[in-house]
Amino acid sequence: MNRNTDNEASLGNSEEMLQFRQLILGKDNQLVRDAVEENARDLVADVLTEALHDRQKADGSVSGVLTPLVEKAVENSVNDRKEQFVSYLYPLVGSLVRKSVSAFLAEIIEQTNEMLESSLTYKGLRWRFEARRAGVSYSQYVVQQTFVFRVEQVLLIHRETGLLLKTVIRDKTQTADGDMFSAMLTAINDFVADSFTHQSEGNEQSLDEIKTDDFTLLIKQGPKAVLVAAITGNPPANIGSEFQKTLENIHQIYNDELNNFEGDASVFENTEQQLNSCLIEQQKESDKQESPKKIPWLVIVPLLMALSAFSYWIVKHWQLDNLLEKVLVLDEVSGIVLLDAELCDDKICVKTLRDPAAQETMSWLMSTGFSQTLFRIDERSYQSLDMKLLPEKLQRIHHDFPEIGYNQTELKFFGSISNDRFQELRAALSSMLESATVNNVLSDVQVSPQGVDERLLNQMLFEKNKSEIRDASFLFNMNEKNLVDSNAEAVKDISEKIIYTTALSKKLGQRFLVVIMGASSNDGSDGHNQKLSLERAETVQGALITQGVDPDVLRVAGLGGLGVNDDARRVIFEVIRLEPDNIEKAKN
């Protein structure tokens, strides 16, 4: 061109110029064009590859143009020559399918894992709460928290008409009405442009960005089309230039389509590739680093608890099993027969037969070194003929027959006894012992025809009962004046003893008083303890009278607080024998 310009200058309006013009533009023009066209193929062929490469490198538009062409070509080929395509692809498809299925599964597992982790951690729960408070769905909130920003949807809008040309959306389930959105956004843009025009000397204003707390609409205006990106989170400042490039690229490629747009958006279907490249996102750095450390405590803690409970149960059972083995092979003792021992719940249930003269089953087990808390005892009474129990049995019987003596070394009774009492004694022995043994035990006992001095006998019985009454006591619950149910039997027992003693005292011409003394622990004020102890004594007094005890022989006293132990809460008895003149005083 430069040479032409020079020539033109030198030729001026001369004849040569006219000839030159005719040569280029006149009837020879066709010849020149033919010559160029003849070589056009070669000219283009020489540089085609390089030109494509350079252009692709410069702005990436070649792939944008080629993609729809290639897609169409492939589609045509597939339609026309299906069989051939199948044979081409057959070797590839198997491994492709395997690969994609395994990738898909891996992704699903990863996602599920992540979801489980994030929903079962403290953070997961907090996010759920926060999401509820913010009125958004949990998944949306997770996206907000996990991504610095994420482009959710991109719309390409025809600038003049506000009609939607193409939209791509990340989450296909969240469909917004792109048509309405485009029109409305255009209207808002028009409104803004109109409202603020006067401030800027006629330059049309347009929206660039619409921003809420966590949502941004980024609007890139082109001469013919507008690109709108809906972004959650905080997009970086330079993100706009990416969209601008895409928009420019679309303008370049679809220039004619945009200029001649008559409402048919189907020609813009292929912009999908460019728009998809705008669906970018950035995950939060901190979250990426945190993820390996995430510990689902909400699962681990209950699991650990369950595990430790289970191990405790295992160990306990193992211990009980061992113990049971030991119990089953214990040496038996006199008067106790072990019937059965088995595990029940968390204890060992032991069934025994026990002679009343023998030690208790529990004390037997404890004497062999076992702990009391491990056992549940079920014992039944029986009479053992075991001679080892004889001393204990004779001791007990002697208690009821104080008028005779007892030789502990020879295991014999001695002394004289009335006939009635002798018969009673023999009956008592016979119920426990073999007849040969009974005869041996009684061999030194004489039966006096007139009996022993009855007064002496009564006196001894009186003394015996007196000491038994003194030994009795009833325990009470804290701050409670009523008797414990389990004491009912004991109340009956002591009532009978007092009634019997009353009868004896009448025979002896003596009088006596039973002083019922209530006491309490030191908890509470002195006044309260005094009152409570007296009330306890009165409770027992009432119970004894109900059982038939003569009220005249009973007296009550409140001792107040006796100590800090539980056994301070009790009622005890004292028996006072009254001399004849004391009787009168006591009555007063």
Partner: protein
């Protein structure tokens, strides 16, 4: 599918909004109308074998004194001017709007005479003999109340819009 932008204009209370209310799928609430002066609805109309999606820009009531934002007219394939046959004044306003539209943009204008279920106002015919009517491509009688003529009107608009070159 072909899409077309259609603007609807008219004096206040002539029934523009009622005209499309039962007829289109509206998403944005009426609040938008008062905020920015336009309410948008869409309606798909079948014309022959093809479908046309009409984006209806319902522009708030205008009269001789309060104009409308001319930018809303941009890119529209047709404009509908609605008048109320019980109020001759609305026809005068409508003709003024037609003039304003034509001054802004060469776009086919259709006049819709609404409330055809009510008797014509006295003096309507006098006003109607107006040279302004020459500006109008077509006119229709409709009743938003009974629905009479509404469907035909939108069909005609869609056909008209298809013929119009935008830009």
């Amino acid at each position: 599918m072909i899409q077309k932008k259609i603007c609807m204009l008219g004096a206040s209370a002539v029934g523009k909004t009622s005209l499309v209310k039962q007829y289109v799928e509206g998403i944005f609430s009426d609040r938008y109308l008062t905020s920015i002066g336009v309410k948008i609805d869409k309606k798909v109309v079948d014309v022959g074998d093809s479908s046309v999606q009409l984006m209806l820009w319902d522009i708030e009531g205008v009269d001789r004194y309060a104009g409308f934002n001319p930018k809303y007219l941009r890119g529209s394939a047709a404009a509908i001017v609605v008048v109320d046959q019980t109020r001759p004044q609305s026809l005068l306003d409508g003709l003024e709007i037609c003039r304003m539209i034509k001054a802004e943009k060469d776009v086919p204008v259709v006049m819709v005479i609404n409330k055809s279920d009510l008797p014509k106002a006295d003096g309507w015919d006098g006003v109607a003999e107006n040279d302004g009517l020459a500006m109008i491509e077509a006119n229709f009688q409709t009743s938003a109340k009974t629905g009479e003529g509404v469907e035909n009107m939108f069909l005609a608009i869609a056909e008209l819009a298809l013929k119009t070159k935008v830009g």
